[in-house]
Symmetry: C2
Subunit: 348 residues, 2 copies
């Protein structure tokens, strides 16, 4: 069946190749690894034997001696989250372009598992890309030296490791400015889990905005990070006097949008809504979602670039901060005249 008579593919060892080619084991190693000081004739002979036998160097053995696995680990809180999916995609392709493999781990949003997985996966790879938005700062700082070289995604930690992040604060500020320009003065912010780093950045941006525009008000509504959380927040939003709502992310915005539509609230006529992230479906909601486009794929690519630098032994790469692009679509519009606005606000 196969072209050679060997069974148990991949089980051919370097010793057998050496025997077949009539040379020493060391010569095979050198020939196949492109060491220049080998007689070209021998190189040819070895190469011929190698693929006659279907030889493939055992990466494990090679790693054990070289100390490098050609693999990096990635720990994400949730593989179901579109943002991390995009980061993973960018990362995976960038790493593959340099012949690196990617070992993934999904911590299922549990901080304890995160620490565990980070260590376990790091030990079988050359470096770690860590997405741990909710790990407490002190834990993170304790963990980082144990898993170096490491690159952080969407969260900084002093200078313990290079970070690649989106500038959530600046983007939220831009979203506020956009709404302010449309005449909105009373806002509601549906916050994500309180302890996430990106939520803190947004809160800071809101504070800055309010200092710059003392005539504005921003009600903060605690919530979750998914579609259902957004839908559940609808009544709370209607109970405020906000004319524009900034959702923690697109999922929350979509949930809110859906629940509001069911209640007969028109968007953006009665209420403007913004999301965050620009996930693939943001353009396809009704109305299409105005949002801040987080360049997640690029985040993944940059994370690899930083890791690549670390692996090369160069200086610690600069942290990078990418500013999400405000993408105006149909879910935001001019503020309604006050009276009409009041009319729209009747709870269920």
């Amino acid at each position: 069946m196969g072209r050679s008579s060997s069974r148990d593919p991949g089980k051919v060892t370097i010793t057998e190749v050496a025997k077949h080619a009539g040379v020493s084991l060391a010569t095979v190693s050198r020939a196949l690894n492109g060491v220049r000081t080998v007689d070209p004739a021998l190189v040819e002979r070895v190469r011929a034997s190698a693929d006659a036998l279907g030889y493939q160097a055992n990466p494990l053995a090679r790693s054990l001696v070289s100390g490098r696995t050609q693999t990096i680990a990635v720990v994400v809180p949730d593989l179901g989250n579109p943002t991390f999916q995009a980061v993973l995609r960018g990362l995976s392709r960038a790493a593959a372009a340099e012949s690196y493999h990617v070992l993934i781990a999904d911590s299922a949003e549990q901080v304890a598992a995160e620490r565990e997985l980070a260590g376990a996966t790091r030990r079988r790879t050359d470096g770690l890309i860590l997405c741990a938005p909710r790990m407490p700062e002190d834990e993170l700082l304790a963990l980082l030296p144990q898993v170096a070289p490491a690159v952080l995604v969407n969260r900084a930690a002093a200078t313990a490791a290079p970070a690649v992040a989106a500038d959530y604060g600046t983007a939220l500020g831009a979203l506020l400015d956009h709404l302010h320009g449309l005449g909105h003065r009373r806002f509601a912010y549906i916050s994500g889990l309180a302890r996430s780093a990106s939520n803190a950045a947004r809160l800071d941006a809101i504070a800055a905005f309010r200092r710059a525009h003392p005539d504005t008000a921003v009600a903060e509504l605690p919530s979750g990070v998914d579609f259902d959380s957004g839908a559940a927040a609808a009544d709370a939003v209607l109970a405020t006097d906000a004319t524009a709502v900034l959702a923690f992310n697109d999922l929350v915005a979509m949930g809110l949008l859906s629940a509001l539509t069911e209640r007969g609230v028109r968007v953006p006529e009665d209420l403007s809504i913004t999301g965050f992230d620009d996930i693939p479906f943001a353009p396809y909601t009704h109305p299409p979602l105005t949002t801040a486009a987080v360049p997640s794929v690029e985040l993944g690519e940059r994370a690899w670039a930083a890791m690549s630098g670390l692996l090369a032994g160069g200086p610690v790469p600069e942290s990078v901060l990418l500013t999400p692009q405000i993408t105006v679509r149909g879910s935001t519009g001019p503020v309604r005249p006050e009276t009409l606005n009041q009319g729209a606000r009747q709870g269920p």
Copy 2:
């Protein structure tokens, strides 16, 4: 400033632990691996030394000798595809529950890369989960023995490897029955890439349906597999006399839905539309999409179960075929009276 004075974490070797505990290297190995025939007092002493030094066994060395890596490889055509994301998620969590790690590779839809990656990743893991919907049958059959143990996702290949798949044919048939029950007789099927296995299954189902219902007609419209392809197919759809359209998948259906809405065609009043997959956003389109819910996460879990069986050395697991659940939402409805239907069919 860790708890111990060791630098270069993870670099503590078993020899150092042995020295520290005043025992032989073998005893450390036995004690730490829970071999019962070790003096409990020694076990304690070894354990103490181990975590005093922060010792962690090197998985590479362990793998080299044991021949097992506790890792499986997964090759997918596109990490950006919601279906594979879900499969990966189910797989990853199921594997993690049994302390297995997951090495991923994204072939970027290129068959050549698929073969390459399958081999490369398989050699550094214990098994391979392969999602290769478009790899030619002969190539697949040639590849499988080289990467065994392997599990196929969404595509069967004789008995060369267990497969875990969704029953696309049966589900499409059910979708057709649903539409037929609503009075539709003329359909359009927007097909995906011709060479995919799941497309073939759907075509078979259509043929069977037409044999069972000779008074029906199904126009086949070639297309791609994404949102834009669906949007691009809108005019072609309108050029047929179909009253119901079956899209290759939800993405295509959403694109079509969007383009039709722009053209003033009402769904489902003028035209019924079905998707396929039930991706996370299918319930949130306008109108919500009637679709066949492919249990992708479960597919991933089952794939792991099969792999787990293979790894355990048991008999080759049965292939599993999961039937997607027809999920009726708002995008399908009763057929319109003929005359009105004709009226709706005017191109842009």
